[in-house]
Symmetry: C2
Subunit: 117 residues, 2 copies
């Protein structure tokens, strides 16, 4: 629980770079090697490799070494943590979603509860 605080530091820092966000966008479609992740960017392979490392250290990506290629896969658990943090502020930016929530509560409280846990 307390560890999540440190997680959030690393996760938000990893997300603060457009190259890394783009990499995650690619990984959302399919698993990719470090080389494949690097190609879209005008950057050395070593540079891209460092970005992958940051994503990995943040727990956003896991790596499977197969032969000489490193296959990267999106790991969404930490994104969920970040989202959970943001959710605490959700009512600040939209009364509409509050309405949606209350609508849900009104319709079937038990069903929603089951979905949440």
């Amino acid at each position: 629980m307390v560890e999540q605080i440190a997680h959030l530091d690393a996760v938000f820092h990893a997300l603060a770079d457009p190259t890394r966000r783009a990499m995650l966008g690619q990984l959302a479609k399919r698993e990719l090697t470090v080389g494949e992740l690097a190609t879209p960017f005008s950057m050395s392979l070593a540079g891209a490799s460092k970005h992958v490392r940051v994503l990995e250290n943040a727990g956003l990506v896991t790596r499977t070494i197969r032969g000489r290629t490193h296959l990267c896969r999106l790991e969404a658990a930490r994104l969920a943590e970040a989202n959970a943090w943001l959710r605490r502020y959700q009512h600040f930016w939209t009364a509409k979603l509050d309405t949606l929530e209350s609508l849900l509560r009104a319709e079937d409280l038990a069903k929603v509860k089951k979905l949440k846990e």
Copy 2:
């Protein structure tokens, strides 16, 4: 649209620091002056002031100067942008929320659409 990319850089970077996240947590309860924001932390006022500045530059906080005090208010629009970005990955970390969505769609698509816009 494209500007939001730069927004995200600043917003995620601002959120990557635990002091700043804590400040936002305080501002979620009530508006606070820079001094009030600074007191919980073992840090000089100038240091805290720099954190406030980062939050302000990211658009997460607005400042109202009244006399010699600077009142800070949480500005959630940019948090919403960050949340919107994370939402694109939501189905990766929970099939349960997907179910919630489809449940909504099944129940009243038109109503939900209205709520979203």
